[in-house]
Symmetry: C2
Subunit: 426 residues, 2 copies
Amino acid sequence: MLRTLIGETTKYLGQKVRVSGWVNVVRSHGKIVFIDLRDRTGILQVVLNPDLAKDIKEEWVLEIEGIVQKRPAKMINPDLETGKVELSAESVKVLSKADVLPFDLRDLNVTLPTLLDFRPLTLRNEKVRKIFKVQEEIMERFRQASNDLGCTEIFVPTISASATEGGAEVFKVDYYGYSAYLTQSPQLYKQMMVPVFERVSVVTHAYRAEPSITTRHLSEVIQMDCEFGFVNFAELLDLLEFIGKAIVESEIKVPRLTLREAQEIIFQETGRDSRKEKDLGPEDEMDIYQWARKKHNSDLVTITHFPTAKRAFYTMPDSENPEFSLSYDLLYKGAEICSGSQRINDYDQLVKAIKSREMEPKNFEMYLQSFKYGMPPEGGFSFGLERITKQILGLENIREASLFPRDMERIDQRLSILQPKKLAKK
Amino acid sequence: MLRTLIGETTKYLGQKVRVSGWVNVVRSHGKIVFIDLRDRTGILQVVLNPDLAKDIKEEWVLEIEGIVQKRPAKMINPDLETGKVELSAESVKVLSKADVLPFDLRDLNVTLPTLLDFRPLTLRNEKVRKIFKVQEEIMERFRQASNDLGCTEIFVPTISASATEGGAEVFKVDYYGYSAYLTQSPQLYKQMMVPVFERVSVVTHAYRAEPSITTRHLSEVIQMDCEFGFVNFAELLDLLEFIGKAIVESEIKVPRLTLREAQEIIFQETGRDSRKEKDLGPEDEMDIYQWARKKHNSDLVTITHFPTAKRAFYTMPDSENPEFSLSYDLLYKGAEICSGSQRINDYDQLVKAIKSREMEPKNFEMYLQSFKYGMPPEGGFSFGLERITKQILGLENIREASLFPRDMERIDQRLSILQPKKLAKK
């Protein structure tokens, strides 16, 4: 007998089916036992004689044969797609037993460390599980939107011979005895692909050895990047917002402000003066979000013209005022979900920019080749998958938006427990 | 005036358009100059007065305005989609100049090291570029097929606290002073997701510190993985072949052989005796390919039941003969493109298997949680993106199927040139 998925059982009223899944809940009423059985398509109430139910506990994996029946009217559960039916069990086969759960998995009320210490278990909770169904959907929207814009999807390496964008926050890899690093972004590679495909998209892992614990940063993230040739700054903003709106399913025109305009608005609206700061802080981002909601009914805001010195070396300075750059961040509900810029596409200017940051052009030899042999005006941007997931769902901590989050204290298990000796040495 | 893509120019016969792209070829005929201009949609012949063409050379980036005209009948190029038209240039703007090319980029005839030393340049060659359009298509087919099978796409980390599958071929990462490793595969994570989503797919980077140079191995690859709960061995073979056939666009039933049957066929067909070997060698794989073509008209062959000791610890032994395992490889045109198995899903058996390989169960604590709390029968497989690209296109070396291949001698540039001092120390 073939397996019937739980979501399909309503089609088999009065018929015998075989279902398989995990025990979500067991409720014993003496002469009768109820089990909520869970598979990937839904939850089904199963009615059993106690002798069939024996020691069955939550998270056991069962294969049950029985008759699909209408529930008595007062037993109908309107919250379940299968809420009008139940399975009257005739036989039960135990496929896998489970230890007694360390906490209530249905009404999950645990601290973040416990949520992560028992990740394979807590992910089975319906609310937690749904975070990653939303994440899958975000990725699908990004892919669809970048495909609509004519991007070719590329695959680029994550092991690099030098730190991508300068800075100390890189993880070092022992590469056959040589020094190598994990890439902080696919930036240099996607730019190199502009003369090959003109428009590219890339989904990849990015690594930041940030020696701090915040609710917004992870040491390993998934980035969704695009890069476009033959575009100017205004076109880049259009492209950015096209993808941003697709991802958060908005159709509202996105307001655009320069950093200085945003800071002026914050000052006018709240009296708080951040007008000389070089970036927006978390509080600024929330204030601008409130303003954009009120004034433009928009959850998205584009901020442009960040100080050149605060952005990566490849960022094009604004020719009208080179202290500021042709850069942008996209904010969603008060947090940055995307960042990018028009790039320097002139070889000599780029070499000069590398030197001005006290980096060595010879460490960028392959990258610079692309510019030496004809590079059109170009630019792009990068979305953070976990950051967007967090913002869309209003999660408190970005760790909740990563299946297995990496930070300075944890690789699955807490590092201080895994490697106590290493910690002592530090 | 808006840009017209070259592939669209045939629609504007007699009209003025603006096109942008790279100079593919310049041919000067004294009083008239011909340029083949390339953008992402095609190649267009441009006719210019010499005073408009000045110093223009290959790979310069130009923006040209002119009138789309019919070519004279004898000038029609049937190999080009735009072969019946040409652009009569009225003005030319140089967007970016290019150094003189180090080799002929159109008729690219260079050694592999040169191909890779000048990667941003050699990728502009049409044949090289097309490899990665095929690669994009392979990925799209994998995604479509795994989606058709009900998989949820997941994103898993690549930094791990212990070596995934044992063995010494791992890259070590300095992780905030702790020891960490780059994952050899997403294997353990995708298995942990079976009790969450039942069926998952994952595209990720995998790392192997193989201290050898072959035409079939890279140090960093893209893997396309699936894992399925509630499946038996026969169903797994069906799932594997469903995706395999989708990727190579075959509709022919895939012949299945155990390793021992395959070796027996090789002996019968060629007289070569590999019947006691624990795996198929490259020559064996080619012989079986010849047999499958001849006997079944199939480029694909599934080989099952490899020796348990030769497969990873989580592989389910065949209960009828535990020396062999419920494992499989999918061969395409004489090379393995996919590998997988039914997994051990019983907690105690899994702990025993880990110990029998002289590994520590405590290093697999989070992984083992999944099995402690209810794991159905399950299995899966893993496709190698570069390997499939190589096989579909008949490339000689897997490095040609990676935009920026990593091996023990190269991270973009040759390591011996980048870090001569490190080399001396080794």
